[in-house]
Symmetry: C2
């Protein structure tokens, strides 16, 4: 690529080769614009980790260049890293009304609201941010107020779909902005970045309205109380529950902290249309006949501390599941949560409830575009270059193949990885470099202080527990003054293993004697001898490998 040619770079910092922690930097000259700033939930092997956010050191290194961060909607995988990133990077954040309201609640909770500049936008707005002219475009998704972006740069226009689906019959009447996409396509688009989450699904994703039809059917037949669990942020879903409740003359109460928060925000901003007297307090619900009541609850993912999960295991302070209850889990398990959700469903059945769950029962539709919708967007936008985003590697590959089928030349399609730098001129594109990109683990208040060594230790401790060997040696002679003592945790049930632990102690004594005989006084050597001998002994006896920590005190 010639040095003097104008170029724009795309630098994915998260969301490629994975579902979650979406973050894309766009750089033109010395200006950087960031799209989304999300988190992801820890993998099973990231023991004790609370959240994972993108490594944003590239932004810190170029902090003077960063003009702002645009958040396309209010889901955690798009706004969840902001409370951390904004601590280090004081730049304006742009988003629609509901998105910013959810972000604000989040920042407030974490106590770092001060000095954050939030700028509200709405669909069809156009904004100049540094050298970028940004248009916000309405799309359908499983949260209200989601926008796609058209970012006009001197080199050409970049269209980013964000997460989206095409819903011809949306609950709020706001259809996907076909005209804008078509107009951009007609004017010419340099690069399209498009959501790959559902690329493995053929056909079209069903309309949100389909869930409403299922609710109607289930509500009509339910004889007693109805409990619906869903994602708090899916305001349209909540609207459908409330509307159906009203139709069948039922009052609605809301339980679960995040659900209560979102309902309050959505009500305040006018995203929920609730007929008078329909929403009541949970305590009031108790005085109504069961067949006049609906409870909207958190817990659609089987989260251990959520309201529905507590009800299922008969551990909720106010609500007890009784035979006759109808429970609807209006969500699909996020990969990794399948067993938690299945357990909740099982426990609810055991309490006597009738449970509708998963797609089998038609109580959920996805918020992401299936193959035909993805094709439609490609055909509308007709980009010169295509970069699939928001998906695991196989999904990006499959999305790339889809684009190829529609006639985009393979050399104009880039399946990239987080951290790769994609440079585009008006007529060429290439992967030209790499910046630091990876993950930062958040554990409690710590960001990045839990790394591989800590995780490796946690894994070993989790597998077979630990054995601590303490011995006090004489500073002068090296002779054993006290101990050896053995303390174990998470290894064996101590009462049943007294003999084993006694033998282990004997092994340590023998090791110490041998060291003394051989005049070994170096602590490191003594410790490693203890560790090796004991480890071998325990493995033979139990086929387990607990962590062994020899501690030598000297007096």
């Amino acid at each position: 690529m010639a040095e003097n040619e104008q170029k724009v770079s795309l630098i994915p910092l998260g969301g490629l080769g994975e579902i979650g922690k979406n973050m894309m930097a766009i750089r033109y000259g010395n200006s950087i614009l960031v799209i989304d700033c999300g988190l992801t939930f820890p993998e099973e092997e990231m023991l004790g980790v609370d959240a994972v956010i993108p490594d944003y050191s590239y932004l810190l290194e170029h902090r003077q260049m960063v003009k702002g961060i645009i958040v396309t909607h209010g889901h955690e995988d798009h706004i969840g890293a902001l409370p951390y990133v904004l601590k280090d990077l004081n730049v304006p954040v742009y988003g629609t009304r509901l998105t910013l309201a959810l972000l604000q609640a989040k920042l407030k909770e974490q106590g770092n609201l001060n000095g954050v500049k939030l700028q509200q936008v709405k669909p069809r707005d156009t904004l100049r941010i540094g050298p970028f002219k940004v248009e916000f475009i309405h799309v359908s998704h499983s949260i209200a107020d989601t926008v796609a972006l058209a970012i006009h740069t001197p080199v050409g226009t970049i269209v980013h779909t964000s997460d989206f689906k095409i819903d011809h019959t949306p609950i709020d009447g706001e259809v996907f902005d076909f005209y804008k996409f078509a107009q951009l396509g007609e004017e010419g688009v340099l690069v399209l970045l498009s959501d790959s989450t559902n690329v493995e699904r053929p056909g079209f994703t069903m309309s949100e309205r389909v869930v409403g039809e299922t609710f109607d059917e289930v509500f009509r037949q339910a004889r007693e109380r109805i409990i619906v669990a869903s994602f708090a942020s899916n305001v349209h879903r909540l609207q459908q529950i409330i509307s159906t409740a009203y139709k069948y003359n039922r009052k609605v109460a809301v339980v679960g902290r995040s659900m209560v928060n979102v309902v309050n925000i959505a009500l305040e901003l006018g995203y929920l249309d609730i007929p008078e007297d329909t929403l009541v307090d949970l305590s009031e619900l108790a005085y109504l006949p069961k067949n006049r009541t609906v409870i909207i609850s958190t817990g659609s993912q089987g989260e251990p501390m959520s309201a529905l999960t507590r009800m299922a295991r008969n551990d909720h302070r106010q609500i007890e599941i009784v035979p006759g209850d109808t429970v609807i889990i209006s969500a699909l398990p996020i990969p990794g949560n399948e067993k938690l959700v299945a357990r909740t469903v099982d426990q609810l059945f055991k309490q006597g409830a009738d449970v509708y769950h998963e797609a089998i029962d038609g109580v959920h539709v996805s918020g992401h575009a299936s193959q035909e919708e993805l094709k439609l967007v490609l055909s509308l936008v007709k980009p010169r270059f295509f970069v699939p985003v928001h998906g695991e590697y196989r999904m990006l590959i499959k999305h790339a193949r889809l684009a190829e089928d529609l006639g985009i030349p393979p050399e104009n399609i880039f399946v990239a990885e987080n951290g790769q730098v994609l440079e585009f001129t008006r007529d060429r594109g290439a992967i030209t470099g790499r910046v630091p990109a990876g993950r930062l683990l958040v554990d409690g208040l710590g960001v990045g202080d839990v790394g591989n060594i800590v995780l490796r230790d946690r894994k070993q401790l989790a597998q077979d527990g630990l054995l601590i060997v303490v011995v006090t040696l004489s500073k002068e002679t090296g002779a054993v003054i006290a101990g050896p003592d053995i303390i174990s945790r998470g290894f064996v049930y101590v009462r049943e293993a007294e003999e084993l632990l006694e033998e282990a102690k004997e092994k340590v004594r023998q090791t110490l004697e041998k060291c003394e005989e051989r005049k070994v006084t170096d602590w490191a050597t003594i410790k490693s001898n203890i560790r090796d001998n004991l480890s071998k002994f325990l493995y033979e006896k139990t086929r387990r490998r607990p962590m062994i920590l020899p501690i030598i005190m000297e007096v």
Copy 2:
């Protein structure tokens, strides 16, 4: 139930309210017959546990009564607990040829083959075991040689389907034994126990042959090497891979320990029909053009140490994935393994392979009966009483509803839990009691020595690691002679937290001083003071709660 009436009891010891560790005891008078003796894999929260088996103390308590154990097929959830149970209970084991061969390999591996009495049976055999007359009946399943059972007792006939599906076009030509089921139904069946695993799926489960058609299509199009991962025990699947390879003039090599074992057993017993020169050693495969080769591999569940997973992360000694390779994962992820499998697929795509996986691509069919098959069996057998087995609680409930739809009176259907005793006379049934039933955790060589306390400790260690505080006190004065020292593992990255750990040490010093001032000499109190103060301090600073282990040495 009148005392003098003849009765037979069913005592489920595993497999009800869960998928796995199947075990059902049938008792008549002072004779007990056991059906299956399986294991299950540990839940996520059972840290470090290798396997879970049924609590079989009921059988030990009545060891004189146990006449034998019948295993219906060779899957782990039907034979996996035998190596443990047979150590305590020396009774004959009955099973078909392949089932016993797989069991034998298992027992040999664990070194407890001596003195085990294995008795081979075949479909349509009838055997007298104590007061029970047992008929073995051929059914289709995802492993060859699976049998259902008709157990004739003086009270009536009990039919147990085992795991099954109805395959009209099975690979070995042996169709589900419709006649036997129909004949039993005609003669009259007291109780039917039927597989509930797939009760949530409408329609019929597809024939194994469908997978062969997919193989044919994929093999025909593949340009270079083909690698197929599947369950080792699915001999029919292996047969289809080999037959298709032969058709397309490819040689086959087998990798992965369990796959090599099963292929050898199946070959020896004649369950695999392999054309001459088709099966070659992996080392020979290297000399053939890639488009003449097929590799059959373990790893269809993304198991971290399996052959395919190693290939995917470029860590296999002999096989490197290269662009052009076609990989087929011919299995569905077992619940809980979804993410492991997805990761393997992603890594294979990254290495440049083309990957076919999951049911989307038609490369797998289930081995369990769907709703229409379950109805067919109920209609054939026409039992007086019905007990759904092999399923999570919601599945048992749904299976019960299915039976109700077919006209079995609700009071004759029993959705039972492990450990409940179901008693049947000729015309009445009831749940009349409870025996111990639960789970035994296997960790290394230990069975049952890992319980709640050990798991709770492992969980805490896994979450936030541990901090050991060591201090040496004077036996005479109680004064601090050495320490306090602090050692941490799995808590923070120590180099980045020196200051924090220094402050923590200071906290301990202050605590010890206060104890000395207040003349506290009781070790337990000193330790709990250290633990409380340190825990509070660390939570404030980090929002983490590591395990804190104060150790006091006295000299």
